[in-house]
Structure formats: C-alpha cells, structure tokens
Symmetry: C2
Subunit: 333 residues, 2 copies
C-alpha cells in the first residue's frame, strides 16, 4: 500500500488539519469530535443543513460546507459512520432557531446514528428533519445497507436544499425539496479497480485484469455483475439503462446529468463518459439542462465512475443555479 499519508490511524485528523489550514477563513474545524462548520454558523433565522458519513469520499461532505450548501459536516473514520455525539454537536453549532435538516445517506450505521442525534437534538429543543438519500438502483440491500444505497444524488440534494435554506425557506420546505430531489434522482456506479483502505492495507475486492464491476457501491460493496471491460459507450449504457427504466425517465423530461469519478479516474475519461451519456439521453428524448462532471463522491483511489440523473423542475433549477461558495463547489459568489 502506497499512499500520501503519515499513518493509517491519523488519516482523518491530518486531512482535517489540512482543511483548517487551507480554508480556515470560511470554515472552523473541531477535532473532538470531528466537525467542519461554516465559519459564520449559526446563521440566525436560517435553517441549518448538516450531513456526515465515513471519510474516504472527499470532497463529500466537508468540501461542501459554506454559504449556499452545508452548514456543517461530520466526518467519520474512513468508511465508518460518524457518531451521534458528532452529529449532535454539529446540529447545535448550526442551529439558528429555524431548525436543522440532516442529510443522511442510506447506510445502516449512518441512519441509526443520525436517528439518535435527531432525538438528542429534539431533546435540546431543536427541530430536526431528515432527508434520506437512497438513489442507487444497482441493488436492494447490500453489505452495509437495508434497501437502496445513498450515493450521487446526495451531492445534488445538498446543493439544492442548501440553496433553499440560504433563500430563507422554512424547515419543512427545505426538507421537502431535498426529498423531492432524491425521489426524482437515480444513480448507478462501476469500478475498474478496487480501493485500499488505510487501516486494512488490502484491496476492497479483486477484479481480473480485463474485468469491471457494474453496480459497485462507494465502499467497494458488490454490484450487479462483472464483465469483460468494454468501451465507454457500453459502460454508459450499462449504467444509464437501469437508471432510466427505474424512475422511469421519459421523453420530454428535463434532467440534471452528473458524471462522477470514483477518485482515481482521470477527468479526460469522465468527459468521454459524459459524451456517451449525452448521446443516450438524447436517444431517450431527455433534455440535459444542467450537468456536473468531476470527482465529488469518491471511494479513495478507486478507478471508475457513477452516473446520476435527476428529473428537474423550475424550482430545482433555480436553486441549482443559486450562488454557492464552498471549497469544492463554487459559483456566482
């Protein structure tokens, strides 16, 4: 295992020291427990939006903290859920009196701990609503999940619900629009190579030299099937067909198309995949009104990609376009 780290058990703390050194003007980082909090939190009268999950998926979630997106993120150890205590601290830190929304990816540990944190928050007189993301069409139930996994749509939920919160919308409205993005979003991913967690030092799974895994999870959980590596056009087809059929997306739909890299994939390749996505979407009569291409929800150095489609409405487009000022997603501000 070769990695740019100091020690396997120091990975998260060391990376957070980097976040603090680089972005200390816009976020404050706490180490006991780990939290990345918007520098001006709590914003009085604004709904607070927090998320969290295992580390190893950067920039999600810490890279999305800032005006127009998250108020705080709780990073766990690599591929390990954060604790209810962390989530409670973040909830309290961002509570400006208008309530707090938890964006939770559907993994058993995350759901259980965020449920507990929400209860604890309510015990301190903070109104808490939860948006649960479960957009991965690859498999029902999985290594760490009952039901569908929460993946790429989480990034889009955080942007759109974050903009709604920034615009002064009420707690129930922010939660509703976030749930709508999830309900109208579907994702699927694939891998060319496994990743290696610092703690184990071993590949998360094994793939032959000429094999890819279709439907992979963001921790290397098994997907739908393995096959011989084919061209990018085939990969795009394998991922998009189940996505389109599942919602289903239909001719005339306006969509946001998100081609996400798993962490070790060159941007050059993501644009090749996007070209195929655009072609297939057009064949289905879909209009791609917005897009996002890059490494946003990753799995350490895994090579591969995921595709997310969200069926858009005018409100979602408006909040997608609204200014955002975070380390990893920034425009109009």
């Amino acid at each position: 295992m070769k990695k740019l780290i100091n020690a396997p058990d120091a990975v998260v703390a060391d990376a957070l020291r980097g976040v603090q050194a680089a972005h200390g003007d816009r976020v404050r980082v706490t180490f006991d427990p780990y939290c990345v909090v918007r520098a001006d939190a709590p914003v009085q009268g604004k709904v607070g939006l927090i998320s969290g999950g295992g580390s190893g998926h950067e920039p999600m979630h810490g890279g999305f903290v800032g005006p127009g997106m998250l108020d705080a993120a709780c990073p766990g150890e690599v591929f390990t859920s954060p604790t209810p205590d962390q989530m409670l601290e973040a909830t309290k830190a961002v509570n400006g009196g208008a309530g707090v929304v938890h964006v939770v990816k559907n993994y058993t540990g995350d759901v259980m701990n965020f449920d507990m944190a929400a209860e604890m928050g309510r015990g301190e007189e903070i109104e808490v609503e939860t948006i649960l993301t479960n957009d991965d069409v690859a498999v029902e139930d999985s290594l760490y999940t009952a039901g569908r996994r929460g993946v790429g749509v989480t990034v889009l939920v955080e942007k759109i619900a974050g903009a709604a919160a920034e615009a002064g919308r009420a707690l129930s409205e922010v939660a509703e629009i976030g749930r709508r993005v999830n309900a109208q979003g579907r994702s699927m991913g694939m891998a060319l190579t496994p990743c290696i967690t610092p703690a184990s030092g071993q590949p998360s799974f094994e793939l032959a030299e000429d094999e890819v895994e279709i439907g992979i999870g963001i921790h290397g959980e098994p997907g739908r099937f393995r096959e011989k590596a084919g061209p990018a056009s085939q990969v795009a087809e394998r991922l998009l067909t189940p996505i389109v059929e599942d919602l289903p997306f239909g001719s005339g739909d306006r969509v946001l198309a998100f081609v996400n890299g798993m962490g070790g994939t060159p941007l050059l390749e993501l644009y090749i995949v996007y070209a195929e996505v655009a072609k297939i979407a057009s064949d289905h009569g879909l209009t791609i009104e917005r897009n996002l291409i890059g490494n946003y929800i990753t799995s350490l150095e895994m090579q591969g990609c995921s595709i997310t489609l969200v069926k858009l409405d005018d409100e979602m487009v408006r909040y997608w376009d609204a200014p955002v000022n975070t380390p990893a997603l920034r425009w109009g501000a």
Copy 2:
C-alpha cells in the same frame, strides 16, 4: 489496460465531444483542428490568451477556457504537442485587435510549434507575445525538455494573466505579469504509481511496490531519485526544500501554495500533504496568503502530487482573486 475510453485513437476527439456537450453554452469546440474557444471570442479590444499542450493533463488547458482565464486552448493527442496550425487557428479566433499571448510550457515540441505559430500570427498582422513557463526545479534538461520543465505554475500564470487581460491591460503588461508569476514560482512533483497512455497500453515507467519517484515529470519523465515510500511529511519535505532553496523563498515572503494531484490521488491525501506544506512553510517564515488544492495539471491516472509556491505581490493577489468562470476554476462570477 482498463480505461473509460472507446478506442485509444479516439480519446481526444471523444473527450472533446464531452466538453462540447457539457459546456457548449460557454465554449465552442472545433475538431479540425482541435480547439476549445471561449464562446464570445474574440472579445474586441481585449488581449487574447491561449495555451495548449498534449492531452492527458486535464483539466489543463481546456478546462481553463472562459472569462477571466484562457480565451482558447489547443489540445494535442495524449502527451503530444499540438501543431502550429492549431495554435494559429486559436490565435486568430481570439484576436480582438489588442494582440494575443501564448502561454507555453517548456517542452521542446510545444516551444517549437508555438514559435512557429507566433511567426505565422505575426504574418497575419496579429501581435503575439509568449510567456514560457519553466518552474520545475527537479531537473535541468529532461526527456522532452531543454532546461527546466513547465508544470504547476502554468495554471497560476493562466489565472493571473487571464485576469489582467480581462481587466483590459495591454499586451505587454499581460505578458509581463505572466512572466513575473513564472519567475517567482517554483514546483516539484512526485509519483507513487506510473500512468499508462492509451496508445502504448504500457506503464510509463516501473516502480517497486514500496518505492516512490521524487522529481517526476508530468509525462512520467524520470525525476531526481527513487526512495522507499515514506510518510506524507517526508514527501512534503522532499518537494518543498528544493523549491524554497531555489528561488530562494525567505522569511516574510507572502506566497500562494498549490498542492496539485497527478490525477489518481484522492483529495483526502492532497489535504494531508497540504497540512504538511502549511507547517513547513510556517517553519520557513512564509505566509501562505492564497492556496489551491486539487487535480489541475495531471498525468492521466498517475498517483502522486506536485507542490508549487509563488511569491506574491499585491497585483498578483488582486488578479488571483478576480472573478473566473471556467469549467474547472470558477469563483466570483
């Protein structure tokens, strides 16, 4: 070789189809020859700024085309210089009557072809100035270079000179500030793993399981030495010490620190490296006033990083902070 491509000889054209599909609202892409041009070019009365080089380093340069940065980029085949014809087309496309600046990384093929394109441009009555970047302190002369290689500082030159052009500065002034950024900038890189070009299908070099290469070039050209993989703190020291000694940077200097991923490195690890850079810079009495962390000048899926320091002055800071609106670098607009 497993890659998200359709065919080795279609990589650049397919990726450009993706760029066109994704960013057609802000750039126009031509395929014969390959150019990515700002949609509203030429901007009358504004100095045009173009760059170019082999593909495989994305987002550089095509991802930096847009208001506040480049007016056009000329992508060659993977790790292959673009042609003088391409550069001439781009020069003509962005000429708004105030002249055109070529940002050229110091590689023999790039320099020769840009020189020829500049001559051809002058032949068509376009004033052309060249900014040559040669910031890599690792080696003098190399596989494709006489003198020092142009690497990370190129991204910063394109941002800062691009902002100067956008602000309406004259041709000689835009060229001068770009040259100043290069003169006050130094870089060095390292690799944990090689990359594989689509055409060859073979690793660009071989490294043992526990070995890293210090001073690597962005095409996998040999660096200064190989050693056993050590902690991130050691990597940062190996790269920063020659950088600091070379300019030299001294106590009291204000700097921009750029930690760049080679393409296959998780963002988590780049933040760990940044934490070490911040510590070492502080030990030298340097004040990091601005920073950039992420994959900006890459080498396909190579794992590793480079570090760039630029000694800042007020004008550079002002142009660094100015709005930029490109696919890969975007703020304040």
